[in-house]
């Protein structure tokens, strides 16, 4: 009997669910939809306390393939989490303090929220393994929004049937 196999989209669904723990943040998975067509849709404007999630490079990890029938291929998904804090003319708190707290909160959300999950890296059974990137890239007064933030990298390895990414 065929068994449902996790895919990259299942991992992203789980990631979205976990980031929802950040109740005061807006989590954006960028779309090409014109959100104005939908009365409920939100425009993807740059906003304060925003996390923008996007999939960057996909890399084969042949060492972690699982030969068999059917064979399973291992892929590593590079997920970028862009944390954004907008400038403010009324908040005198140090931006670095705010950023450090925000980085901590986002990492806490991904690893389980209120309760740290020992197996956070398998994303509810959908992934083989995951780890944080070695560097958190500081972004200052960036782009059109002039916002500050960090780019966190999350590397997630999944095993899928060939062609089923």
């Amino acid at each position: 009997m065929p068994v449902a196999e996790p895919t990259a989209v299942d991992v992203l669904d789980e990631l979205e669910t976990r980031l929802a723990w950040l109740t005061t943040s807006e989590i954006v998975f960028p779309s090409r939809e014109n959100s104005d067509n939908d009365p409920e849709g939100k425009p993807e404007s740059p906003k304060d306390s925003q996390v923008v999630v996007s999939v960057a490079n996909l890399t084969r990890v042949a060492d972690l393939d699982l030969p068999g029938n059917p064979p399973r291929e291992c892929w590593e998904l590079e997920i970028k989490l862009r944390l954004r804090l907008m400038p403010s003319e009324t908040d005198s708190e140090s931006i670095d303090w705010k950023l450090m707290r925000y980085v901590r909160d986002v990492r806490q959300a991904v690893t389980g929220g209120d309760t740290y999950l020992d197996d956070w890296f398998n994303f509810n059974g959908n992934a083989l393994d995951a780890n944080w990137g070695d560097t958190m890239e500081r972004v200052s007064t960036d782009g059109t929004s002039q916002s500050d933030g960090y780019v966190l990298t999350l590397n997630i390895r999944i095993r899928v049937t060939p062609g089923a990414l």
Binding site: N37, E44, M86, T90, T144, S145, S147
Partner: protein
């Protein structure tokens, strides 16, 4: 009439909803929103940042430099205040962040929103 008075009078005429203006909702970061008149120039979408896989429409918004009928330069909180704008005329307006003051004088303020 002084030149400053002329600026203010011209601003009211320019943003009049009977002429070039439309009614939009201004949402300050810390206080309640209000309706104002604005001339909105809808531009092309631009990439928000190099790290993100997304673009968003850019708006140039002309309002009177006035804390009742428009937005006063003294009250704008860049990065936190928003204006509800539809990305096409006639569609449902949605909140857009005010990112920059492009131009200002006693009569008018020009804002960049996205």
């Amino acid at each position: 009439m002084t030149l400053r008075d002329a600026f203010e009078t011209d601003a009211a005429m320019f943003t009049s909803t009977s002429d070039f203006g439309e009614t939009v909702i201004y949402r300050p970061r810390l206080v309640s929103e209000r309706n104002i008149a604005a001339v909105v120039i809808r531009q092309q979408a631009e990439q928000v940042s190099g790290d993100e896989n997304r673009v968003a429409t850019v708006f140039e918004v002309h309002v009177a430099n006035n804390s009742t009928t428009g937005i006063a330069t003294t009250e704008i909180d860049l990065g936190g205040d928003m204006i509800d704008i539809a990305d096409r005329v006639g569609k449902t307006p949605k909140p857009r962040s005010i990112l920059q003051i492009l131009d200002q004088d006693e009569g008018m303020v020009v804002l960049r929103c996205q």
